[in-house]
Amino acid sequence: MNSILVFPMLLPIIVGVLLIFLRTYGRLQAWVSIVAMSITAGMSGYLLHVVQTEGIIRLDFGGWEPPFGILFVADSFSMLLVLTSSIITAICLSYALISTSKELQTMYFYPTVLFLIAGVNGSFLTGDMFNLFVCFEVMLLSSYVLLTLGNSKRQLREAIKYVSINIVSSWFFLVALAFLYGTLGTLNMAHLAERVAEVGQTPLLTTISIVFLIVFSLKAGLLLYFWLPGSYSSPPIVTSALFGALLTKVGIYALFRVFSLIFYHQPEITHTIIGIMAVLTLIGGSLGAIAFNDIRSIAAYNVVIAVGFMLVGLAIATPSAIEGSIYYLIHDMVAKALLFLVIGTMITLSGTSKMAGMSGLMKNYPLLGWSFFITMLSLAGIPPLSGFIGKILISSAAIDSGSYVLLAFALLSSMFVLYSLLRIFKNCFWGETIVSKEEQLPLRRGVLVPCLVLVSLTIAIGLGTESMAPYIVNAADTLVNPDIYINAVLGKTQ
């Protein structure tokens, strides 16, 4: 039964390989990949239910029992993220089906997206540090390809920077793995956690944990986000939406996993550094979000702000703060995909990404305008939308633990999110309509459907918080009590 656990990674790979042979059939590829992602989402939902009722499940590849072999471990945290990312990918793919050029569709766009999601799901599921590195690389290689597909000069230029920075961060990852293996003699996450707990977190181990912090911060865009705005604002909008929704989240997942399961014994060092980095990220992201006139850059800086906000939850590290971060993580995947898709539609319609070139879109495209409005409220954390519950939980946890500085910056950043998006809303949707009803570009049929699905998702998450709560509480519980995870992996075989 446990072998179903491999499918969230295996299914996209198999389908992706098949699609390579169907290169010329753009629409067929899109439909096949949407169906594949829907099946993946369905299976993840089922697995989430199983984990909730029967506890953590694992799959030992080749029958090698931990700590010897590579394994996949599914707890509520990873299954929630796998489920969300599969749904988001399916929606983004349907947007690609409707909106992207035929040229892009036949240049292996869909297979690459499927390989990307295989890497993302693999990173969420794996229970082995080196396998995490491999899954990261699968994801990164696909992202390199996606970033260059479309072939504009700007993309090539940004891709060189993005690829270089990621090669260096992968190098740091390998260095950290080498030292970790040299000191502890294992790479299985649960085994690592057990051994660190036994010998205590020595200064050497804390140093290694900080190398990991650098690696994952580079991937997540925590403080080391200088590469992010350029590379997230240059590719086709579907790619940006996928990147904004998924890629940084994998880095955040890794930070949560490593610093709550393995290196949690010296919070006064590691978690303080994370807190400082989160605050600096919030400041930098906020300044960036209000500094630009290009709406794609504003959206990219909003990704940065969200990263800082979630890591505030990890820095506080109380159960309710972790819970809030998980809520916010799921919300942010939905909301960032939505933000990028709406902004992409605006750019397609007005032919420019500058705020100055758009005005009064509300009169021509009211539905698009209100979608943007809901996105804005959701990202700012207005109830009853999905961003609210995460913000309130992190804020109350910050008050309980006396982290007033973190609280102040987290709340202040929400104001900046609201301000930066309100500026887009005011300049682009209100104001004098410069394009008359006769001259306006027609919305391509169905192009708003993916956006509306995401809008209803963000409302549904906001209203359905109560029904999600048991899963989130379980996920936070496993993160706060590493013994549950360790026993599930190293205990007797199921």
């Binding site: 390199y144 072939n151 090539l156 060189i160 270089s164 090669i167 260096v168 040299g182 790479l187």
Partner: protein, 112 residues
């Protein structure tokens, strides 16, 4: 022996960092290739160098070498090979499109 290898790792890393910090794209790529070699040697020396025979059944030896670092390196080599191949093609395409291999000229202008 391990100390010697660690010194070699240091030398390789130094060379690689010098190359990565230069402005020419091809030099940067060569730098990243050397960088990956350095870390492979580091992983290898972490598992102790040559303390016994190959870890196979039927060798009848008292000590065996640790097979795991070798497996890790094999995987890492394949990945770095793929990435290097991709970056070389990317650099070539960028050179064709942008007409330059100078990273300083790829800064991008404000008016895009």
């Amino acid at each position: 022996m391990e100390s010697l290898i660690i010194v070699l790792v240091g030398v390789l890393t130094t060379v690689a960092i010098y190359l990565v910090l230069s402005k020419n794209v091809v030099r940067v790529i060569l730098g990243t290739a050397i960088l990956s070699h350095a870390v492979h040697l580091l992983i290898l020396s972490m598992g102790d160098l040559k303390v016994g025979t190959v870890p196979l059944l039927g060798e009848e030896a008292t000590t065996y070498v640790d097979a795991l670092p070798q497996a890790l390196i094999l995987t890492a080599i394949v990945i770095s090979f793929a990435v290097t191949a991709f970056v070389l093609v990317l650099a070539y395409r960028a050179y064709q499109e942008l007409g330059t291999d100078d990273l300083g000229a790829m800064r991008g202008s404000q008016d895009e």
